[in-house]
């Protein structure tokens, strides 16, 4: 291993779901202590801590965690980057290690979200008694529902429909079948919030949220946390053979924001920044999409998964529908996608998601995924999108030891 390589030494995720009696500190502590134990290290070894909790983005979540599991005086970075918060925390720890400022870095993402409803557009202010232009659009009244929609299921529905308009081949049923796949995958993941298999009819007949996304086609609001310990190749060489064997190489760690495109301020463009991140990640790692054994991508809605097959270049341009129809992204297919069950069934505790997807890939690369193990997995990719927008792409490789 090269000295300046970046490695995951330990990683952990909690069960996602409803943890009535646990608060964010309990969940973050469980994840962090789990990652430290998994890596065979302690808080005393950590040189940097990065932490995120989107719903408590004003809180010093990292310091609150330290006060539960170890106040060692190291620098703490509390980060917030929408649904990419966890990946951003990892990037911060990784940058500190790469810069030589720390031998070990700990990144933690945690969220309490069980029972939350719509995260955007869940309420609308009453109209004022008199019409007075306000804000950057000079609006005299709230515009959600009057000029398009602010709700995420509706925004991502349009993103999937836009792909269909551009390339054809999409339908309500196609999007529902993507959801059917992920719910089927979830039955093998004991950490998923929901492990229920749905029939296509059940998915299409469930409560419509924003056509074509019905309720089971939307990510599940859940509680959960995930944490990861990273270190350098130089440091890893000094550790035990067992630690070296279980370490997972971070061959690429990329974060992008959305560059300007014609319509990006009308409907978020989640495509360009994902494609940019994937391109940079493939280039940095020397890995090509054909080398991947599994992918965890940000299926916040069934309509989103489709576009990311294309954005991550798992298929030729415009070929996402054919890619799905070929059976490739099923767990017994050529390139399994979201074998964890994805956010629709595993759950989406926002700040935890960008580390939990890496946990899933790492667990397969280590050969420790139990009943859902993708046999012989050596290379995987984890993708996350935070609307606004931020995209994290990590390419991970099994240790050669």
């Amino acid at each position: 291993m090269a000295s300046d390589d970046l490695w995951i030494l330990g990683i952990h995720m909690t069960k996602f779901g409803k943890h009535t009696d646990l608060d964010v500190i309990d969940l973050a502590s469980e994840a962090a202590m789990g990652a430290l134990a998994d890596g065979g290290v302690t808080m005393a070894d950590m040189g940097v801590l990065a932490a995120g909790c989107l719903m408590q983005a004003n809180a010093p979540i990292g310091q609150m965690l330290q006060k539960q599991i170890g106040q060692t005086g190291i620098p703490v970075y509390n980060v917030s980057n929408a649904c990419a918060t966890g990946a951003t925390a990892l990037r911060v720890a990784a940058m500190a290690v790469k810069a030589g400022e720390a031998d070990f870095g700990l990144a933690v993402g945690v969220e309490k979200l069980a029972g939350a409803g719509l995260l955007a557009g869940g309420s609308r202010k009453d109209d004022a008694p008199t019409w007075t232009p306000k804000g950057r659009y000079g609006a005299v009244a709230p515009v959600d529902g009057r000029i398009g929609t602010e709700i995420m299921p509706g925004v991502f529905a349009q993103i999937g429909m836009e792909y269909g308009h551009r390339y054809g081949g999409t339908s309500f049923e196609l999007f529902a079948r993507i959801s059917e796949k992920n719910h089927a995958h979830s039955t093998l993941n004991p950490l998923a919030a929901y492990q229920k298999r749905f029939t296509l009819e059940e998915i299409m007949g469930d409560l419509m949220i924003a056509y074509p996304n019905t309720r089971p086609m939307c990510s599940a609001n859940t509680d959960g946390a995930a944490a990861v310990v990273v270190t350098s190749g130089a440091k890893l060489r000094t550790l035990s053979l067992e630690q070296q064997r279980r370490a997972v190489k971070v061959s690429a760690s990329i974060l992008t924001s959305d560059p300007w495109t014609e319509s990006c301020q009308v409907l978020p463009d989640v495509n360009t920044l994902t494609r940019n991140a994937a391109t940079a990640a493939y280039e940095a790692s020397g890995v090509s999409p054909a080398d991947l054994d599994l992918v965890e991508l940000h299926d916040c809605f069934a309509t989103a998964e489709l576009v990311h097959y294309d954005n991550l270049m798992l298929c030729p341009d415009g070929g996402a529908v054919d890619f799905f129809e070929s059976g490739a992204p099923f767990r017994d297919g050529r390139l399994p996608v979201n074998v964890s069950g994805g956010l629709q069934s595993k759950g989406h505790p926002i700040a935890a998601t960008g580390i939990a997807n890496i946990w899933e890939v790492a667990t397969h690369l280590r050969g420790e995924a139990g009943d859902r193990q993708i046999e012989g997995a050596k290379v995987g990719l984890a993708h996350v999108i935070g609307l606004g927008s931020a995209c994290g792409v990590h390419i991970l490789e099994k240790a050669a030891v």
């Binding site: 719509l118 309420s123 349009q158 014609e262 301020q265 009308v266 409907l267």
Partner: protein, 131 residues
């Protein structure tokens, strides 16, 4: 005659209602909110640009679940008006997948949002099918 006010300042009322964007003088990028600089090229000078009132539906969703006070279902869409993307609801069409299609041709239409306590009527906009 009742006093009127547009729902947003980029809706121009009058005989031929239309939307008006801030167009970057340097690169031509168009924006509907007030600007400090261009997000594409960082240019700082803009001119008004009238947006064509006809276009085609590039993306839509039929929102069935929304905040209290918002009538559902309604159709939220992105309309491609000759190269400029516009966010709007589709109106004067049944909000179901049998009547709303990707690629359907639509035109700008206005409607009364309601009157305030002074009797001023706010006018909103949407796009309706070109039959």
């Amino acid at each position: 005659m009742t006093a009127t006010i547009p729902l947003v300042d980029y809706l121009v009322l009058g005989d031929q209602p239309h939307l008006e964007a801030h167009e970057c003088e340097a690169c031509g990028a168009r924006f509907f909110d007030r600007r400090n600089a261009c997000a594409h090229c960082s240019g700082t000078t803009f001119r008004p640009a009238a947006i064509p009132t006809e276009g085609e539906v590039r993306a839509f969703t039929i929102v069935a679940f929304a905040a209290p006070g918002i009538d559902v279902p309604y159709v939220a869409a992105v309309v491609d008006c000759a190269g400029t993307s516009v966010r709007a609801n589709l109106i004067n069409v049944a909000p179901d997948p049998e009547h709303v299609h990707l690629g359907m041709k639509v035109r700008l239409a206005t409607y009364p949002v309601g009157a305030d306590s002074d009797g001023t009527e706010a006018i909103g906009f949407g796009f309706e099918p070109i039959s």
